[in-house]
Point group: C2
């Protein structure tokens, strides 16, 4: 099978398409023929050598999510049949023609949805649902602020927050066009941070913040949270070093939670996937939630896709398709 | 009735005993004749003008916990009868001969326990139970680190952590004698921080940390937490300013929770008191949990009690008794 491989670490010139032996699924696993797959910032970090794949996953084949068709069932695998459309998360190796996953970690593609759209769901919507529901315990009427709201996770979280009952969704971006486009997905308050810090533009406290910025935003995030507010840390786009006064954490009884998908155990992945399939998946069929594909490339142009993400110019998800 | 009053803000010389009108309990409230009451660091902060009482509580009568006898029932009050022994938390005003509280916020004094011991329970044990159980979700087998372990909260938390199933309780103090005395309450690993930072003395990661130190300990706390660890912030003895790398929060999926008792709503207090009465109170009768009274003073010597706490020389709780 063909795969994308990082040969060394560095710029996009280390990305190559290669042929490798096609994997055979073990017990309770399935092999999926990948039609489309999302690009994530973690793939870029891994390319630069800063984010090795967790143990048990391919070390130099990137890709953390897939959408495709069940191709082969491993021994004892009974949940799917060959030909079913499935999508899901992996610890690595999804930028390949085939991926082997545990059957209980796969999610059915909603009826009528194409592979390109389906590939925009797993990382963005599982992360957004997990962060807002399980980590932030969002309740009806909460005010929710989402940083980098035009990103894949941002556009997913905007919709999920609304769908979970948020009374007001605020979003930040340095790019006005991204803010404008996110309004169509349920954003209420667009905060352009190109020239003015978000803290100066949030007049009423918020109950929940999803943050991918990190250290530079930490103190201001604490400042704008309401009593019993929750700050969910999902990334460190601006670095992880911070200087802050922690007194709002105590005075307002705040909770700060860090969360990542990639390092989770099989048991945790299965638990999340099952909850997602039961509660969230129907909302895609009802069009309450919509995948947001900002750009799609053939897999052979993975390097160009990296460059687009590095320029911060993409809206929503960047998807790679196998021909 | 006699009360202790802060006349202005500053040193112990602003503390005076005065006579004020005896309060009359309103609907669903009771008046309690206070026999003993604990001293807390918040009382010292308030004396210095740094921690005003929350709205609805006496502004210049300190004291946040009491043990005594029900003296008068307000209209519609049915939970207690005159003469019952009760203890509990208030937002202020407990350093007085009488205190008026909502009947649902009072807790029965365990049979056979004296008022001095009972007064050592509310702030220390409610805080420790709430922090370890409700905030940190301690589970059997967790390793728990408690800073300033010789304090009122520290000695209570050591016992509560053990009682909730912690496999190992580690405690820090700069005073060896306090560490030695805490061993009798269930401390497993005594960490003397007089000359060596605790981070260098914790070899295996911990699952839960109760911290009263604050900013200076934040980065080291994050460093020694295990994946999915919980850091509960209860105070800022060393100040609230911090410089830290937040990357452990994300990588290890940590949770940081700030919590204080004083500003909680009536509904929150009642919920905690009811859970405490049902689950924790029986453990005092069974001697699984023991109040830790390090020093007791007559109320007229409240200033001396302040000075003892400010010198950091007390072990466990400092209690004031009315004659």
């Amino acid at each position: 099978m063909r795969v994308m491989i990082y040969e060394g670490a560095g710029g996009v010139d280390i990305i190559h398409m290669r042929d490798v032996p096609t994997p055979v699924p073990g017990a309770e696993h399935i092999r999926v023929r990948v039609h489309a797959t999302g690009l994530n910032r973690a793939d870029l970090l891994q390319r630069r050598g800063n984010y090795p794949a967790p143990a048990g996953w391919p070390a130099n084949i990137p890709g953390m999510e897939y959408a495709g068709v069940v191709d082969v069932l491993g021994p004892g695998s009974s949940q799917w049949k060959v030909g079913d459309g499935v999508m899901g998360l992996v610890g690595g190796g999804a930028h390949a023609e085939m991926v082997v996953v545990h059957e209980a970690e796969a999610i059915a593609i909603p009826a009528g949805m194409g592979f390109t759209d389906a590939a925009a769901i797993p990382e963005a919507f599982l992360t957004a649902f997990d962060a807002l529901s399980t980590r932030a315990h969002i309740t009806r009427g909460d005010r929710v602020l989402i940083h980098a709201v035009g990103s894949g996770i941002g556009t997913a979280a905007t919709q999920v927050a609304r769908w979970l009952g948020a009374s007001c969704v605020l979003g930040t971006s340095r790019t006005q066009s991204k803010l404008d486009r996110t309004l169509a997905y349920g954003l209420d308050v667009a905060i352009n941070t190109a020239n003015t810090p978000f803290r100066e533009q949030v007049n009423d406290p918020v109950n929940v913040i999803l943050d991918v910025l990190g250290g530079s935003a930490f103190a201001d995030n604490l400042a704008i949270l309401a009593p019993l507010g929750r700050l969910i840390l999902l990334g460190f786009l601006t670095g992880s070093a911070t200087t802050a006064d922690l007194s709002p954490v105590l005075r307002k009884r705040l909770t700060v939670v860090g969360t990542v998908m990639r390092t989770r155990s099989h048991e945790e992945r299965v638990e999340l996937v099952q909850e997602f399939a039961a509660k969230v998946l129907p909302a895609f069929s009802e069009k309450s939630l919509r995948p947001v594909v900002g750009a799609a490339f053939p897999m052979s142009e993975l390097g160009r896709a990296h460059e687009l993400m590095e320029r911060d110019e993409a809206f929503g998800k960047i998807i790679l398709n196998w021909d």
